[in-house]
Amino acid sequence: MSARVGIVTFPGSLDDRDAARAVYLAGGEPVALWHDDAQIHGVDAVFLPGGFSYGDALRCGAIARFSQVMDTVKAAAAQGMPVLGVCNGFQVLCESHLLPGALVRNAHLRYRNRPARLRVETTRTAWTNAFAPEAEIVLPAKHGEGRYVADEATLDALEQSGRVVFRYLDNPNGSMRDIAGVANEAGNVVGLMPHPEHAVEALTGPSTDGLGVVASVLAHLSEGARR
């Protein structure tokens, strides 16, 4: 039986269908979750997609943090359930304090859409174990508020504990230490700004590297099932 990956739709989510396609193409079973429903319907992992949840009111991701579904997701994450946040999903994870740091306005102050070259800095997370160590991948990066910031002590701690998951090779937004994605201590929660779900088919994406992110969580889940 293939793993069930829940994809949350908030009002203003835009990449929910695309996330479902990525899960499906990688061999998983996508399950739609609703922001106003505390049930996560027995899924094995959760994918928070990109978009503008609640119209980016107040701050990106600030309102989504208080949604019914996020209470359940937070509890499940604490129990080790894999959770991925992409773009707005990453912002939601930071606002929810599932991940450290924050995402602020790009240093150049504009929304910019460009394929980003990234290095996979650690394969010891639920969402990167299928990549070769230090693999260089290409994913579309497209955001206006994707500049990763945190205080120096937090950044040092992230580096030392191997929780910087993706690093930009050509920093597109002024992110501190070129950080594109980070993980929590247990490695089950990962957030990144570039979009794996928009790099799953040669026909439509700059690469198919995004499949590796979903393949990782499927491998992680089947390994867990074997144990």
Binding site: P11, G12, L14, D15, R17, D18, R21, D36, G50, G51, F52, Y54, G55, D56, A57, R110, Y111, R112, N113, R114, P140, K142, H195, E197, H198, V200, E201, L203, T204, G205
Partner: protein, 757 residues
Amino acid sequence: MSQYVAVDTVGVADATPDEKQPWSELGLKEDEYQRIREVLGRRPTQSELAMYSIMWSEHCSYKSSKVHLRQFGEKNPRTPRLLAGIGENAGVVAIDDHLAVTFKVESHNHPSYVEPKQGAATGVGGIIRDIIAMGARPIAVMDSLRFGAIDHPDTARVLPGVVDGIGHYGNCVGLPNIGGETYFDPCYQGNPLVNALSVGVMPRSRLQSMQASGTGNVVILLGAKTGRDGIGGVSVLASATFSESGEDDARPSVQVGDPFTEKLLIEVCLELFDAQLVVGVQDLGGAGLTCALSETAAAGDGGMHVDLELVPLRAAGMEPQDILASESQERMLLIVDPAKADEVLARAHRWGLLATAIGTVTDTGRLVVDFHGQTVVDVPPKSLADEGPVYNRPLAEPNDLGLIAVDRAETLPRPSTDEEIRQTVLDMAASPNLCDKSWITEQYDSSVFGNTVLGAPHDAGVVRLDERTGVGIAISLDGNGRFARLDPYLGAQLALAEAYRNVAVTGATPIAVSDCLNFGSPEDPHVMWQFERAVTGIADGCQKLGIPVTGGNVSFYNQTGREAIHPTPVIGVLGVLEDVARRIPLGLGRTGDTIALIGTTSEELSGSEWASVKHGHLGGVPPKVDLDHEMKLADLLSRLSQTEQLAAAHDLSQGGLAQALVEAISFSGMGAQILLPEGADPFTYLFSESSGRVLVVIPRGQELAVRSACESRGLPITPLGVADANTDGLHLRDHFDITRDDIDAAFKGRIGARLGE
């Protein structure tokens, strides 16, 4: 009731027939005002006067253009693909037995000059709602932009704002921007053109109607609250010329967009359509409730009663005429069976969207609007929607056209040495109209939905519709105001031919047209003559090509004082691809592939980019158009895409062969070794803008097959050279070399640099 005594009701109007009314300030002519009195048999109330002034404005009534636009209906080729055409919110064409596509291009020119960001943003929002209203899910947007000179200080205000507005709205509502065009010309300095296109897809069975039919059915207003924004937008902004003094501040007339609410509108409407909960639907755009109420009532079989105080308001103290005229964005009007009304309200609520029953469909044949129990409107709806004034305005060929025609660019001094021609290639690549537009397109999401197969800078955008079958569409949006200034009939056909060819270059078969006709004041007989010639050119061209005009938009009054813009018909062509995996991209293929030119190069430089960039010249007659040839070319390209016998293809247009090579080299990262045909004049061959030409890249081993496919269709093909990854840039044998670095240095980064970024 005392607080409402000031309201001008039907009763008051009856009792005070001689009350002075501000019809002139609202843009109505005296005879139009008298006709309103005749229709009603009394003076109109304030609310009625506001409604007539809006619905009878140029923008809503097409009163100056109607007599000419009829040609589209008369000359449109019959095609079983056309499911809904002119007069609907957007044209709908069948793609296969199950799917249909709806698309339309519309202008938001005046608001984008006054307040660039919100003006452009709400232009995108408006066209998206037209697509929803047909029953489709919007799947992409595209835009055609024209600004004044790039180094004029005001362009640095208008362009970044417009791009920010298009990007902000499209990105937040979650639609990929799949291409378009951006041009600069001093004639657009005070009248920039912002034409936005949206396209949507639906199961054929989901096609919606705008009819308010079924007595007793409930009228529901869905979406944003109604505020004071945009009052007078269509009657004041879009239907009059900007004054030369520029002192009047029209900013409050521009609406403010909220793409988040629009995204919710899309999801709610599609849910309601799929659950078959809606009898009729109409979007609220320019002219707001006035237009939506009168159009749905006029299209239905009876009348309508509305209680205006039920409309949720954003501002206190709004009077009935304000509520009726407000152009607040992100609203839709639904006609719903009363048994299903509760479910409609519940589904809207689930998405956090306001939905309010404001009236009912009646069998009275009248549109009656009450405000706190007092009747403020009581009119026959058709008199607003369908029976507005129609003008057959005088036409006169511009006096200067004869002089312009003999001032041919072919006589201008040309570069003669190889070094001069080489420098001309670079200067052209660096010029505002030809340079790389990434600074703009990178501000747009292009990949949301995961179905964008080709986006900017390809000749056309290509979007997959169905992942199982691979069926998809290609769209291109093109205009050329310079050609249309020289000859509006030919200029319109050149734009049509280019959009048609751009779609064909991807391998798609063109099937339908939408147009946005941007002109000066219809009250100027010279402008009206240009308009008539352009419409005739499009109608004749579409008849010849066998593809119908499915809808579009007219934008008049694009002029400041006496200075009109170049006549600028912008043409959108939609094509279908049976399998998007076989689309033909831009590029140079692989090392050893043959580069060839299909079509004939003549000495045609009038109206060209070269004449403009190097001489600031506009004169002569535009290049010839051969629509038979274009049809053969499209047939060939479609065939070669199905047989996968082309590695790449690129339309030749502004800047000619030189620019096509620059773009292919810069995009692909490959080099090209080119040998011009014997006896060809290098300058003419590189810079002529003869139409009907395509640069193709033929994989090794396919040269003979492609040549014979061309010859069997009577299409001339000329081998020009080979693609080569080891060649650095462009090698033009016996003439000059340009390295890739030199090409990129000229071509890239220009827009941001010129805007001071």
